[in-house]
Amino acid sequence: MSDAAIELAGVNKWFGDFHVLKNIDLTVKTGEKVVVCGPSGSGKSTVVRCINQLEKHQKGTIRVDGVELTDDPKSVATIRSEVGMVFQQFNLFPHLTVLENLTLGPIKARGLSRKEAEEKARHYLARVHIPDQADKRPTQLSGGQQQRVAIARSLCMEPRVLLFDEPTSALDPEMISEVLDVMVELAEEGMTMVVVTHEMGFARKVADKMIFMDAGEIVEQGHPEHFFTNPQSERCRKFLSQILQH
């Protein structure tokens, strides 16, 4: 087995006539943390959504742990079982309690017993620092708590890779750090992560690799040290100056 957790090679995607991803090549090694940034509409969310086939790519290959993503439902199921996803809008199930949100996947998709699933759920709720909210409905929690429940829900599936699609963009400013703290802890524990975010402080702290996308292309990628201090392309320099000037 190669140590590449995710490999994208020559990935292209169109929405109708709109060429949203152009020849994306990207390798994420096991344990690596990759941060993707770029202006809105640059295709960064689409890349992440292609990795677990929430969007279909039309050209190129995507491999997760060596398994290629094809139309075969089996390959999609295999890959989804190894890839967790955290959404901008949390997407918690509002009709279920927090605990039920966390146990649904393990019980129905993994075949765990209720008892096993609940033990696991409580373990991960403790890990995201909200052990005592298990019996509440998601809508009774703050945004930051909801996003941490969403992270715990992904962790309950014990994925090899976690994808984050702008996890803090829908949060009030005072709640961003509680979510980022959890993400930093996950990073420190060795989780393989691909994070679409504009939180450059987080990126500086945990990223092994920075990706800058614009207009459907990866314009620049590199170690955060070089990336932030000495961006090579004009577009990247401009973008960084815009988001870092505050």
């Binding site: 677990n52 929430l54 199921a77 989804r80 079982s81 890839v83 967790g84 996803m85 959404f87 809008q89 997407n91 918690l92 199930f93 509002p94 009709h95 649904l104 996947g105 129905k108 998709a109 993994r110 409905r137 969403a150 829900r153 992904s154 309950c156 599936m157």
Partner: protein
């Protein structure tokens, strides 16, 4: 003059009209023959309720089966849904009833099947099929109103299509689906009156038969209207109770 206009309907119903005599005696429960007539009329209630209930249950099941392909990403599946809904919706109930009752047994026979269709099942099949086009649209709208992110989240925790529907989408959509579905039930109850023309002994048929022997259409059909009114009011109360419960649930 104005006053006269206002009381005219009452005069009409209480029998103060000059040109004709009135005969509420025909359904007067205090007389023996009146009571017999009333019992005869009300005895159609059981059939009306049975036909409506079974048709509604079938329509709810068929509607879901028709709605699901309409939500598919594949165009060919969506086409199946469109064709069914547009076609069924376009057929008036009475011609469809005739086709099912008189025509369908011939279709069965030509296929070598001996399946007789009695008025009871003829009415149920027609009502269920006819109504399913509408329930399918209710399901589709209800399911589509659930944000796409819910389905995506379900997929990312490994649920397959059926599990996603069963545990994530339908439990949420059902709150928006149930009230209009219950309203649809009211339509079925009213449309079940058509079953009278193929000889089903339900409320309307009983009224027709009594009119033929008693020649008292106004009195008998008035009672008939009130019979349906009572049925519909009961269902309406049920719908409102349901809506309150769903609403309370959503807030809690």
């Amino acid at each position: 003059m104005k006053k006269l206009l206002l009381i005219a309907p009452f005069l009409l119903l209480t029998g103060c009209s000059s040109s004709q005599t009135w005969g509420w005696y025909v359904i007067d429960p205090t007389t023996a023959s009146g009571w017999t007539n009333v019992k005869f009329l009300i005895s159609g209630m059981g059939a009306t309720i049975q036909i409506s209930l079974i048709a509604a249950v079938l329509s709810i099941a068929i509607g879901l089966l028709v709605a699901l392909p309409g939500l598919s990403e594949k165009r060919s599946w969506r086409l199946v849904n469109r064709v069914y809904v547009e076609f069924i919706r376009a057929i008036p109930l009475l011609p469809m009833l005739f086709w099912v009752f008189y025509g369908l047994p011939i279709v069965f026979q030509s296929m070598g099947l001996n399946i007789p269709i009695d008025p009871f099942w003829g009415a149920i099949i027609t009502l269920a099929i006819s109504d399913s086009a509408f329930t399918a649209e209710i399901y589709r709208a209800g399911i589509q109103s659930i944000a796409r992110g819910q389905r995506e989240a379900a997929q990312t925790i490994g649920l397959n299509y059926i599990q996603t529907m069963r545990y994530v989408i339908l439990p949420q959509a059902i709150r928006r689906i149930l009230p209009p579905l219950a309203n649809q039930f009211i339509y079925i109850v009213k449309m079940s009156a058509f079953a009278s023309v193929i000889g089903m002994q339900e409320l309307t048929r009983r009224a027709n038969e009594l009119v033929v022997t008693e020649y008292r259409p106004l009195e008998i059909y008035t009672l008939l209207i009130f019979e349906y009114l009572i049925l519909v009011l009961i269902i309406s109360a049920g719908v409102r109770w349901l809506e309150r419960r769903m609403g309370a649930d959503e807030r809690g």
